[in-house]
């Protein structure tokens, strides 16, 4: 086994996903701690251009596996097994993305590596990998020691800075003889769900509502606020799951990524999946009754208070009449 690190890029429909660059940073740190090289791989799609994008400072080698246009977990598993057999990296680092969830556990199992997912921090010393990760829906953080390598770990997006600069990695094609019989799933296509009237991605000012609104009828309150301030209404996942707002209003990992000038989060606790979709907003303002709500960690302005008191007062500030809910 080498002390190398292999990171696996995430891409979709021709675009490298942001988390891929963050993986490079995480991988570089590990490589430095272990004294090894940083390898990256990009599988399927337009691998050459993706590899170039992946070529940032600190990357030693990039392996391209050209096979098919889009992600297929059977292809990924075969490619990564072959690549790992070839490189024998001490660490395989993948994103804890939806696709990561779809291949990483299988790769780890096939390679007989212990697998720890969703790391927010990694620390390697003296043969032990310490993974920091959350449990119980982000209520606690734990450190977990994985005693024996080689390791496979997935990391959470947004926890490492994206790798920067232009690198001088050696980009090589890695030939994988894909056993087509073992590819027993077929991606037939993609569908954008909940398009429609509004593109919250374009909005300059988003008023976003979460579980704190309690009941569907109370939505009137934030609708009025959006009306008097000229904001666009968006929401966290539970509101859409409940069918109170259409899918195209959902901000977060499985919804839209938004970057408005102002993101006003009302009654949103700030689960990581939500934060993933709005943390890049210019100014984040949070209103929540719970002073410990994680949303305050990323907020620029915070109001600890009941939305049913604050929002009507805010509506009045802008000359509106708060509806009775």
């Amino acid at each position: 086994m080498s002390a190398d690190v292999l990171v696996v890029a995430d891409h979709r429909r021709g675009d490298l996903r942001d988390v891929s660059l963050e993986l490079l940073s995480a991988g570089r740190e590990l490589a430095d701690e272990a004294g090894g090289d940083l390898h990256a791989t990009v599988i399927s799609g337009n691998v050459e251009s993706l590899a170039e994008e992946l070529d940032r400072e600190g990357v030693d080698r990039i392996h391209t596996v050209a096979h098919g246009a889009e992600f297929n977990h059977d292809v990924y598993v075969q490619a990564l097994t072959a690549l790992a057999g070839d490189l024998e990296p001490e660490f395989i680092v993948v994103p804890n993305s939806v696709n990561g969830l779809d291949y990483a556990p299988a790769v780890a199992t096939r390679l007989d590596r212990p697998y720890v997912s969703d790391a927010v921090d990694l620390d390697y010393s003296e043969g032990t990998l310490e993974v920091t990760r959350e449990m119980y829906g982000s209520k606690v953080e734990t450190t977990v020691d994985v005693a024996e390598g080689p390791f496979a770990v997935s990391v959470r997006g947004g926890e490492w800075p994206p790798a920067e600069g232009v690198g001088d990695a050696e980009i090589t094609a890695f030939d994988v003889d894909v056993d087509e019989d073992a590819v027993r799933s077929k991606v037939k296509g993609f569908e954008e769900v909940g398009g429609g009237d509004v593109d919250i991605g374009d909005a300059e000012f988003l008023v976003s509502i979460g579980r704190g609104i309690e009941e569907e009828e109370n939505l009137e309150l934030v609708e009025e606020l959006a009306e008097v301030t000229g904001a666009t209404l968006s929401s966290s996942r539970p509101i859409v799951d409940n069918g109170w707002l259409p899918k195209n209003r959902q901000v977060g990992q499985s919804g839209k990524q938004v970057t408005p000038t102002v993101y006003l989060a009302i009654g949103i606790s700030g689960a990581v999946q939500h934060v993933a979709g709005m943390k890049a907003s210019e100014t984040i303002i949070a209103v929540n009754t719970d002073p410990n709500a994680p949303i305050f960690d990323i907020a620029d302005y915070g109001i600890v208070g009941d939305l049913f008191d604050v929002v009507p007062a805010l509506i009045e500030e802008f000359g509106g009449e708060p509806p009775s809910v």
Binding site: E215, E216, E217, S324, V325
Partner: protein, 699 residues
């Protein structure tokens, strides 16, 4: 024409079957026999249907003579028809007594003719003074009948009185009322024609006792009808009247007139505890067997309920869910079930679910979820239909088929997992006591006179915690020996049962009883009327023996006030207040005065809302309403506060809206905000008022 009758001229009587002839008479008897046969067959069919219904969990036929008598008294007095509606009471009394009188009169005549004179060969007693008195009474009562029917017609067609018209209003309603009218009027016409006709051959001056018939005769005469013409027309008039009467008799079991029997039978078999003490489900029943899936799953009494309905609409006009625009109309539910059964029997309806989500069932899930279990419908029903029992059983079906309302499901799961609807840990249950400057005694550790069951809302809900602390202060102040169960208390289950989660109700009831039994106490006192109801009426079904020693706190506090234990002079406060009767305390359990006594003892002026005591209007929180969202045009709580501020004597000068139930407190605090009444009125619990009075006294 039988000459012997005219030969009797000079004796006061009337010729029966005058100008009808022997053939006609025989035909009449034949048709009468046919009509009675059709009647009897129909009645048999109806009752055979009930006999096929499922067993009813209640004993409804024990002590039958007393039941028959009580029901007869109810019918005779028409007290249920007079309830909330003088006009309808008079109308029904006139029709009922008029109809019965005419029925009796005809029966007497029948006895004289067919039994006394024909079979026994005795001289007729239908002569002389008897005849005169008979005729007078029959005419007078008949007039009452016609007036009653006229009132019905006026209200139904002229006024277009709202509650009389509904989804199931149909031709049978028109036929019923018009047939009665024609029978009444036709009787007088027949009489008038007969008097005029017979006046040709004899002196009819004695017939003035039949004053209405005489009047008709006068009118006919004035209109130029000669006695000869009247005599000639008589058979036609008579036959019309006779045929209509016979047709009516035959039709009784097939349409609305059947209520004369079914509604009476329903009163005979009624359960006075219905609604406040719901039936258990068999211990070994599987989920599929709980609640009605098919029409056969309804008990015979419930099928009778459906047939007893006269479509009067009193239930629906009293229903707060309907008033708030929720999709529930209690009359329609009962009649939908009836129509479904009749449709199945006639083969023109497909079998569907009795109750389900999705709109294809007889009753929609949303309709059942709308019910607040406030019992207003049952209180208003003149024929004692047990809506709430049936509604609860349909809720049970929804629960067991996994179709419980999502919001209710959350509350119910909280009770299952945490023992309270809030989903808070049980160790936090006694947290409300922290702010008191005395220790609330632990009934698990010391023997107490009053075991105080605090309840979910007073334990966990901030607003109601203040009520709990107030009551604790009252008990302390009065030196009452009391104690609470601390974390061993669980949700009382009353509303869990009413939303149809019987299995969970069984669980909490058993565990609460166990907690009670581990304590040494004399009485149980409840903050919440819902607890009070289920402990005193229902826990008995699970082996609880102290149901009679359960009190609502207002009852205990009333005694403290009367005994002077709180040292109030009755001058401490001078606000003007109104009092809202909680359904579970008032209508359910008949306690109207204790809370009012306590309220008055503080010195406030108590101004009643028009809908008070048994006519109280639900806050909207019962039957799980507290846990659900509804699209309501005016929330029941908002409407009720409006009533307090507009329909009381003091009107806008009413300072406080006094409640005696934590659920009411929550609903009205909400209604006060959403209805925009925050500056107009305060919501205060009886015990909070009392504490204010104590504080005022101490100053």
């Amino acid at each position: 024409m039988p000459s012997y009758m005219l030969a009797q001229a000079g004796v006061e009587t009337r010729p029966t079957f005058w100008r009808i002839g022997h053939v006609g008479e025989a035909l009449f008897y034949y048709l009468a026999a046919v009509a009675v046969a059709i009647f009897l067959y129909g009645v048999y069919q109806r009752f055979a249907t009930y006999a096929r219904g499922a067993d009813d969990p209640r004993e409804r036929l024990t002590d039958l003579p007393a039941r028959v008598l009580t029901a007869a008294k109810l019918v005779a007095s028409n007290e249920k028809q007079f309830d909330r509606d003088l006009y309808a009471g008079l109308m029904h009394t006139f029709i009922l007594w008029g109809f019965l009188s005419l029925l009796i009169a005809t029966t007497i005549l029948g006895i004289d003719m067919d039994l006394w004179t024909l079979v026994l060969g005795q001289p007729s007693f239908f002569v002389g003074d008897f005849y005169l008195a008979y005729s007078f009474v029959a005419d007078a009562m008949g007039l009452l009948f016609v007036v009653g029917v006229g009132m019905a017609i006026y209200r139904r067609y002229w006024v277009q009185y709202g509650r009389l018209w509904g989804k199931h209003t149909s031709t049978e309603d028109d036929l019923f009322v018009w047939t009665l009218f024609l029978l009444g009027v036709g009787g007088y016409l027949t009489e008038g024609v007969r008097i005029l006709g017979t006046s040709a051959t004899r002196d009819v001056s004695f017939e003035t006792v039949s004053f209405v018939g005489w009047f008709v005769k006068d009118v006919l005469q004035a209109a130029g009808v000669t006695p000869q013409a009247a005599a000639a027309a008589y058979p036609v008039v008579w036959w019309s009247h006779a045929l209509l009467a016979l047709a009516f008799v035959a039709s009784v079991p097939y349409a609305k007139p059947f209520h004369m029997l079914s509604s009476y039978a329903n009163l005979v078999t009624r359960d006075e505890d219905a609604g406040k003490r719901l039936p258990r489900v068999p211990e070994d029943a599987s989920p599929e067997e709980i609640g009605p899936s098919d029409i056969e799953d309804f008990t015979w009494k419930q099928l009778l309920d459906h047939d007893a309905c006269t479509k009067c609409g009193r239930c629906s006009s009293a229903c707060p869910a309907k008033a708030a625009g929720r999709p529930l109309d209690p009359r329609d539910v009962i009649l939908d079930l009836k129509a479904y059964r009749e449709g199945l029997e006639a083969g023109d309806r497909e079998e569907v679910d009795i109750v389900a989500d999705g709109g294809t069932s007889v009753v929609d899930a949303e309709t059942m979820e709308s019910c607040m279990s406030c019992m207003a419908c049952m209180d208003a029903c003149p024929v004692d239909i047990e809506h709430v029992t049936q509604f609860t059983e349909m809720n049970r079906r929804l629960t067991e088929s996994g179709q419980m309302n999502k919001n209710v499901e959350e509350a119910v799961m909280n009770v299952f997992q945490k023992g309270n609807t809030f989903g808070d840990p049980d160790r936090k249950r006694p947290d409300w006591t922290d702010d008191l400057d005395f220790e609330v005694p632990d009934a698990r550790e010391q023997s107490v006179e009053y075991l105080w069951y605090v309840g979910d809302y007073p334990s966990y809900d901030e607003r109601n915690q203040h009520v709990a602390r107030s009551l604790a202060r009252v008990f302390e102040e009065a030196g009452v020996s009391y104690g609470i169960l601390y974390e061993d208390e669980q949700n009382d289950g009353n509303d869990i049962r009413r939303v149809g989660e019987e299995g969970l109700y069984e669980m909490v009831a058993e565990e609460n009883i166990e907690a009670f039994q581990s304590c040494d106490y004399e009485n149980i006192v409840c903050t919440d009327p819902h607890s009070y109801n289920t402990f005193s009426n229902e826990y008995e079904q699970f082996g609880f023996e102290d149901g009679d020693s359960v009190y609502h706190y207002t009852q205990v506090v009333e005694n403290l006030v009367n005994d002077g234990a709180l040292g109030l002079t009755g001058t401490e406060l001078n606000d003007t207040v109104t009092y809202h009767d909680p359904c579970h305390l008032g209508r359910y359990n008949g306690e109207f005065e204790a809370p009012r006594e306590v309220v008055r003892a503080t010195g406030v002026t108590l101004d009643e809302m028009p809908r008070n005591r048994s006519e109280s209007f639900c806050c909207g929180g019962g039957g799980g309403g507290l846990w659900m969202d509804f699209d309501e045009e005016t929330k029941p709580s908002e409407e009720r506060i409006r009533e307090a501020l507009e329909d009381t004597d003091a009107g806008p000068d009413v300072d406080r809206f006094v409640v005696a139930c934590p659920m009411c407190m929550t609903m009205y605090e909400d209604g006060r905000k959403t209805g925009g009444y925050e500056d107009d009125i305060e919501i205060t619990d009886v015990t909070e008022l009392l504490v204010e009075a104590i504080d005022a006294k101490e100053k």
